[in-house]
Amino acid sequence: MSVALENLPYLLRGAGMTVLLSVAAAVPATLAGLCMALARRRTPWLGSLLDGWLFLMRGIPLIVLLVFVYFLLPRTGLDLPPFWGVTLVLAAYYAAFMSEVFRAGFDALPNAQWEAGRSLGLSEPLLLFHVIGPQALRVALPAHLNLCASLIKGTSLASVIGLWELTLASLEVVERTLAPFPIFLSAAGIYFTICFALDRLARRLEVANG
């Protein structure tokens, strides 16, 4: 176990990169998911477009998308460093799932809420911001946090295209120390700690929501 302790700082730096990558992807994914959920309510034809998107993201493995974008982006002349390429893919992938979660959140509210707000003379944005939004988000938050945990696990795939983060860091350490059990277990422990914290938060919110 001393091997694990000795290399923990290095793994934790890798975890820092994992967190950075997760945040960089989760924030735009959440915003895009929210926009997609809202847009779907207003424009029906957009709905089928988003369904198509969701179908693709549901059916194609994340790792396939990552490798594809890694190889294809440089050719488009869109010159993104690998970090942003990975971020882009993760965000696009999870935005699709998040939009579903938010849609469920909006759908969970009775239509009467909209009508009541409108009859009070609230404009659509105001209504959304003050009445519907907060409630829908509260409903959607636990599932959203679960998706965030899934996204954090998904960042490990970035190691396959050579982006340095926790998984690649642990592989490097194992190669040097030849101690797969302690090192990979430590890495798993770090992932677990981050994701489990999110999971607990999600459970607590779920309980709070009743």
Binding site: Y10, L168, E172
Partner: protein
């Protein structure tokens, strides 16, 4: 920008395979931050170089552009020690980095007048073709199909795959590995897969994604031997007493290919300068410098300046 470096401070002990020329270049957090910073300030530096360039005719050679700009922009990797990697101080270092600095010294009088752009394997050729960088200097071996797309200088390094095996396998020659009892680990690049098919058709092969994985697979006993770049193979063996180099005589593993600088084709003046410079380095007036760099980064003597003994003629 200074930040910590993955790979080097822990690994330190040993060099990573520069990935048989073709693996993906990971991006460390340090690089990420500097790239992010570069994106933010991209307006300034971009317009800078442009204003210098616009003073020249539209068909000006890259050579004139570089001199007018008073700075060289070189594409490099950052994760292929000892060729190009980030050292514990957070700076790019390595054989290829030193070469670029030496070119800047001759061209612009100052080895610091270089800007390095970190590339990955998939992005390196687009980077020269679009003119984003003046040339690429990143573990790229010359192949016929690549030569149709980009221009190469003469090589600065002889490379090629060689084979390292577990000592306890009791092998001495690569050919003995050609047996279904043995497993041969290699990276996913067409060259090494082709060589394995040609030389070791009967051995089981496993294809892994990164250099750490092939070494690890061999060390834990998943593979008997693995394919590795010739330039750094001896370093691996020095660091891992349980591994040994196999005799490759009479096989394709004894063939070499050359790592070379690549640039946008069609710019004769620029290509001529770089090629002349490279010829002087490897076989002419700058051989002493080549030897110094070679000893520094590979810890062994470079190939001789001439293939014949000069004192006899």
């Amino acid at each position: 920008m200074r930040s910590y470096i993955p790979g080097t401070d822990v690994a330190g002990s040993r060099w990573r395979n520069p990935a048989a020329n073709d693996t993906a270049a990971p991006l460390s957090r340090g690089e990420f931050l500097s790239l992010a910073a570069a994106l933010l300030v991209t307006g300034c530096s971009g317009s800078d170089s442009k204003s210098a360039a616009t003073a020249l005719p539209a068909d000006a050679s890259r050579l004139d552009i570089v001199i007018a700009r008073d700075k060289l922009i070189v594409g490099t990797y950052s994760t292929s020690p000892p060729l190009a990697f980030i050292n514990p101080d957070g700076e790019l270092a390595g054989f290829e980095i030193d070469l670029a600095r030496a070119i800047a010294k001759d061209l612009l009088g100052d080895s610091e007048k270089v800007e390095f752009v970190v590339l990955n394997a998939a992005g390196r050729f687009p980077a020269v073709l679009t003119g984003k960088i003046d040339f690429g200097l990143c573990s790229t071996s010359i192949t016929g199909d690549r030569a149709a797309r980009v221009a190469f200088t003469p090589p600065y390094l002889d490379t090629g795959g060689t084979v390292i095996a577990r000592r306890d396998a009791g092998l001495t020659h690569v050919r003995q590995l050609n047996d279904p009892r043995f497993t041969y680990a290699l990276l996913n690049n067409p060259g090494s897969i082709e060589r394995a098919e040609q030389e070791l058709p009967r051995a089981k092969t496993i294809v892994l994604d990164n250099p750490a994985a092939i070494l690890l697979a061999t060390k834990v006993g998943r593979a008997t031997a693995f394919n590795i770049d010739r330039a750094i193979a001896h370093q691996y063996v020095a660091d891992n007493p349980d591994l040994m180099l196999l005799d490759t005589s009479g096989t394709v593993y004894n063939h070499v290919s050359g790592n070379a600088i690549f640039l946008k084709p069609g710019d004769f003046k620029w290509w001529l300068f770089l090629s002349t410079w490279m010829n002087e380095l490897r076989g002419g007036s700058r051989y002493a410098q080549y030897r110094t760099l070679y000893l520094r980064w590979f810890d062994k003597e470079p190939p001789p300046q001439r293939f014949y003994d000069v004192s006899r003629y």
